[in-house]
Symmetry: C2
Subunit: 216 residues, 2 copies
């Protein structure tokens, strides 16, 4: 399979972790978001939405939207599972995942933050503030749920990583890149640190991908 | 089961359609978003994220995030299905659903559009323009995928409604409330009209809920 990817993309970070956890190999194809490659016909023909990641199977089928890709990978390659076996647990893991996927990350994608910056005259610090604002609200939501729920374990749901941890990791990675700290969110911080101590998460981090700037 | 709802909420509209399709009854509990009820302790105790919808099962379990609620309902009440049986089809329906849930709707929720309006001084028309901008991008994504895919039928995926149609219906309902038209998106328009001709969709529309303003 092929994965259309770019070092900076947090949605692709989630997918890379899942591929690592499942032990799957793939052909990465760079879509340089900074150069606008996503808007070129070559990529628009792959995914008319012109966003990444896209997964293209060996038969040419397109699987897109990071959360749909995670679900697909989990259905076709069920070991190790990214979702628990019971319906309520699955709902909880999906809901935690959606705090990032459906509430926070959409607000800080380049198309949105660049539009806000250009239209309302934000400088780099203003843009970073925009990102931190919405990610911090997502962190509040995570902390509120994770800190009260008995189902929370070493990871978001029990003691094995699930889809929720992939999403939480991408959330925290994005927040810290934009100079946020996790000091007000101790449960989130504990789980994020646990995740990033795992090479299957760590090696998928944006700053460890080809083309990424050197870490400061 | 109880559903925390408000007439205007597009995410709750999606859930109401699913409940109608599955033939499930529930106790609606109003959370008046215009009065800020979602931030009061009574609701924060239900859902620390302070957004709706929330589904509370008879055993007290919380199911939250509209897409996770739809998946839960489909797992526990599988007839009629909201997802196709094959993994690629399921991925396609989830991806189409996420065009609304993860790319468009998050940008226009009250917390975001009110923040943008207050911070950058938008009037009502400016706020409506903000909403239309992001919903129109989502419509372009829908049209791009739906118009080229052989899997598109009477509905988004074949000839029976799926999760994607619930999300598309909420997207189009929101867009038209903010004075958008579907003339540039003929495939979307055709499917939306098909959906809204079905009383299980139509009766769930925001403007048909208790507390909604009278239709103009």
């Amino acid at each position: 399979m092929k994965v259309y990817t770019y070092w900076r993309s947090l949605a692709t970070f989630r997918v890379r972790i899942a591929l690592n956890l499942k032990g799957l190999t793939y052909e990465p194809i760079e879509v340089n978001l900074d150069a606008g490659d996503q808007h070129q016909p070559a990529y628009k023909n792959v995914n008319p939405q012109m966003v990444i990641p896209s997964l293209v199977l060996d038969d040419g089928s397109l699987i897109y939207q990071s959360a749909a890709i995670l679900e697909y990978l989990d259905e076709v390659y069920p070991k190790p599972p990214l979702l628990p076996a019971d319906a309520k647990g699955r709902a909880r893991v999906r809901a935690l995942s959606l705090i990032t996927v459906a509430d926070s990350h959409p607000l800080i994608t380049p198309r949105v933050r660049n539009y806000v910056a250009t239209t309302y005259g934000l400088d780099d610090e203003g843009k970073a503030g925009w990102v931190r604002r919405w990610f911090a609200q997502g962190l509040d939501a995570y902390e509120g749920h994770l800190s009260r729920d008995a189902a929370t374990g070493t990871y978001c749901h029990g003691d094995l990583p699930t889809m929720a941890d992939l999403c939480l990791a991408s959330h925290c990675a994005g927040y810290t890149v934009f100079k946020g700290t996790l000091d007000r969110h101790p449960t989130v911080k504990r789980i994020y640190e646990r995740c990033m101590a795992d090479e299957r998460f760590a090696s998928a981090h944006p700053l460890r991908q080809p083309g990424a700037p050197k870490a400061h």
